[in-house]
Symmetry: C2
Subunit: 331 residues, 2 copies
Amino acid sequence: MKKIGKQTYKIKDNVIIRDTYTIVGPKEGEGPLKKDFDMVVQDDLFGEDSFEKSERKFQVTAVENLLKKNNLNKNEIDLLISGDLLNQIVSASFAARELQIPYIGIYGACSTMSLSMGLGALLIDGGFANNVVCATSSHFCSAERQYRAPLEMGGQRFMSAQWTVTGAGAVWLSNYGEGPKIKHVTFGKIVDLGVSDANNMGAAMAPAAYDSLNQHLIDTKIDYDLITTGDLGTVGKSIVNKLFIDDNNSIENKFDDCGTIIFDLEKQDVHAGGSGCGCSAVVFGSFLYKKLKNKEIKNLLFTSTGALHSPTVTLQGDSIPGIAHCIGIEI
Amino acid sequence: MKKIGKQTYKIKDNVIIRDTYTIVGPKEGEGPLKKDFDMVVQDDLFGEDSFEKSERKFQVTAVENLLKKNNLNKNEIDLLISGDLLNQIVSASFAARELQIPYIGIYGACSTMSLSMGLGALLIDGGFANNVVCATSSHFCSAERQYRAPLEMGGQRFMSAQWTVTGAGAVWLSNYGEGPKIKHVTFGKIVDLGVSDANNMGAAMAPAAYDSLNQHLIDTKIDYDLITTGDLGTVGKSIVNKLFIDDNNSIENKFDDCGTIIFDLEKQDVHAGGSGCGCSAVVFGSFLYKKLKNKEIKNLLFTSTGALHSPTVTLQGDSIPGIAHCIGIEI
């Protein structure tokens, strides 16, 4: 079996991240990565009449423009692996309806980007696909309505709350050509230490992030130039740092979180940072992918992190299960 | 690449359906398959204080009892691939929390069972797992509350409406041992002909079922002894039959639907039949799996069918996208 250590898959030299496409909303387009995104939309509704339809359009546009940019025809893509935060992953499903590519729908909340890339890498390595597109999206306005309260209520946000990224990212994986390669994949287990506050997702996800990262580093023994998590924000990031320090294995000098990279935390009033499936998707597809392509870093441990709660079960007194999936990338 | 025809994966001789476990609620336990299920629970709440917690317990119990029945330890299972109908697939995620197995969450609505078995088969064939558990569940009461109206409202049901199965099924796939083998997998594309009536899911899913079944039969040219769909009910089943007849390729004499098998449609007042992720899961895990084990049939085309809508987008005027994934099994 292609497993090393306890929980990590070793991929042959044949899974290449050929290209990415990122599209974001106006707030993300004003942040520190504004020049790195492929497209910035100046209207949260993207010309649609609901936030849900807007989010879907972000996801369709990301995939279609990724294909266009690379002169790819839809029928050259063997599988579309995608998901999102909305109930019944409707952004992904309706995007798949437009795209007409055989479709594997996944749900991993904000861990979706690395879950889809991990699955895509395994399916290519296993000989089941030449080309896979992995995609996800999130939208601040649709996420607030579904998970917390409609924006129209004008509620005060908690300082530990994060700002769901409006945006979508699509990644083209292929078994030929040039580019950074996916070399290792670790699928996480659920970790739930009892956090039940939907306004503090960073704390809920941090123990899961630590668990998967730590297992990946033990399994692979690789010294990564950069380790990133998906959307822990300032609260979750500091918890992960502390958990590694407590374990006498600090990763602080090479660790960052996409939720703290995407926004200017001082000026953009996002409190603890960015979150949502789109967060790690657009930071990976722009900033991190360019770092790899330009050889500023020779390897990256990319880890999206998900909080798998629902408003219904939170009201029933349940806590928030966390999960994290790790993708080891080398150039 | 391991693809035959346009859309179907050919699996080596190495993916064996080693065992299954099925658990159902009281109504299913009074139906024609009552003697085929491993466990019938006489209380819809399963001793819990909410339907959501009950559904989760069905799913955990199915997996735990599958492992127990086969003297398997959790750490012998490489991957758990599961999902369900509830928002944020909380039944699967909370079950995964109890089970502590690396977890791939999927969303395919009622197509979940064949989607998970298809992914599991590819990952075993690709050399990434020796043992995979695929699982799903649904619950009449939690599904009605989420998708239509709370039961407490006492609404009159439409004659085209189906009855969501209360139950969970778990399937153990392995690369060693004896049993029926998964030989072919076809992942579907989304088909949406514009049905927007959440009380007529059969009609919404039937075109997708036809599309995937037809593609699978063209790709593989296999003459199956039995072809089953997941939960089209009487309405959807008759549409699929008609679509094949229109195509001069009737499958009527070997085609059945799990939604019409699980209940006595004359006596159990379920209108158009059963539905839900649990429907195809428990019919496959009991009745169909036994037919294969006893060699009453030498091969089976098992196809779960999903309606990928959400109440939010239905209210926004969207139609219901359908999908179907096919699993070709031989003994």
